[in-house]
């Protein structure tokens, strides 16, 4: 990475990039905060209907996805660790696993959406699940789509970034001396994991 003119040292430039990424992560968290607030309000207003609706949540797929993301956080952290210690091949494998776990997450999400839509569980005005017509149930599922949908978009962005980083690592542009970009990508990926850590109990563990 080239030293930019406003910095005295590469170390300071890198430290500033890390701080910038943390500020960005704080900002992104507030995007989800708005949805958490809506969830909190509607769950408070419709407790029984949320419980009834959550009985139709796909706990199996949701939980598998939780394990996938937690593991992907480990593999990306290890990938950075291996890069730092010069073990490029291991780093590439670990990063590829991370991407694979993320792609699996997205595929399972799509499957889950497909299963719901087949039953008529769609967001907002398109909801047609006659078994559970109550307002609170519709709101639960609309929030489900909005929250997991926004999250899935962030996962997609993260996967694109990780894929680009994989290529740079493969081509030797990321090395044990210069791996800031990988660090920053890892930080973003952990945010995606953090959001899901809270989404999972709120959507799937409502009993």
């Amino acid at each position: 990475m080239k030293l930019e003119v406003q910095y005295d040292s590469l170390a300071r430039q890198h430290a500033t990039a890390r701080l910038g990424m943390w500020v960005f992560l704080a900002s992104e968290s507030l995007l989800f905060a708005a949805l958490f607030a809506l969830y909190a309000a509607y769950r408070f207003i419709y407790p029984a209907e949320f419980h009834a609706a959550a009985a139709h949540a796909n706990v199996l797929l949701g939980t598998i996805n939780t394990y996938l993301l937690l593991t992907s956080s480990l593999t990306v952290a290890l990938s950075i660790h291996e890069t730092k210690h010069g073990r490029r091949r291991r780093a590439l494998v670990l990063l590829a696993i991370t991407i694979g776990l993320g792609v699996t997450f997205e595929v399972l999400k799509l499957v889950e959406y497909g299963l719901h839509l087949r039953d008529g569980i769609a967001p907002g005005g398109y909801y047609s699940f006659s078994e559970l017509p109550a307002h609170g149930a519709v709101l639960y599922f609309t929030l489900y789509y909005l929250m997991t949908g926004l999250h899935a978009l962030h996962v997609l962005g993260g996967l694109a970034a990780l894929a680009w980083l994989w290529l740079r690592l493969y081509r030797g542009r990321i090395t044990s001396e210069s791996y800031l970009a990988l660090e920053l990508g890892g930080l973003y990926w952990h945010l995606v994991d953090l959001v899901w850590i809270f989404l999972w109990p709120l959507i799937y563990l409502v009993k």
Binding site: R18, T63, L74, L78, L194
Partner: protein, 108 residues
């Protein structure tokens, strides 16, 4: 700067794996307990466990524990304002039935 970059004191690979094991254990515990502890207490318990998991990911995977103070401040600020928004909304919705002249059609 006073505190070193997160890099210099980064956890070892073993630490990462141990943290991962704890995360998996906590997630499994949360899943199993959700059938036992239900309702409002269930929500509280699942959120407490989630907070622990999030804390581990942040502290170890994201190097918050041994990194710069400014990073911890950014993280704390995000949490604080998220809680503010949620609590501000609940303070309204939660007290309409006991402290309002308005009654809406959902009975609050």
């Amino acid at each position: 700067m006073a505190t070193p970059d997160p890099d210099t004191n980064a956890p070892s690979a073993i630490t990462y794996v141990v943290v991962w094991v704890v995360l998996i254990v906590l997630a499994t515990a949360s899943l199993l307990l959700s059938d036992v502890v239900v309702g409002g207490s269930g929500l509280a318990l699942s959120l407490v466990i989630a907070t622990l998991k999030a804390g581990l990911v942040a502290a170890f995977f994201m190097h918050l524990a041994h990194g710069r103070a400014a990073h911890r401040m950014a993280f704390a600020a995000a949490i604080a304002f998220l809680l503010l928004l949620v609590l501000g909304v609940i303070a309204d919705v939660g007290t309409r039935s006991i402290a309002s002249v308005y009654v809406d059609d959902v009975g609050n």
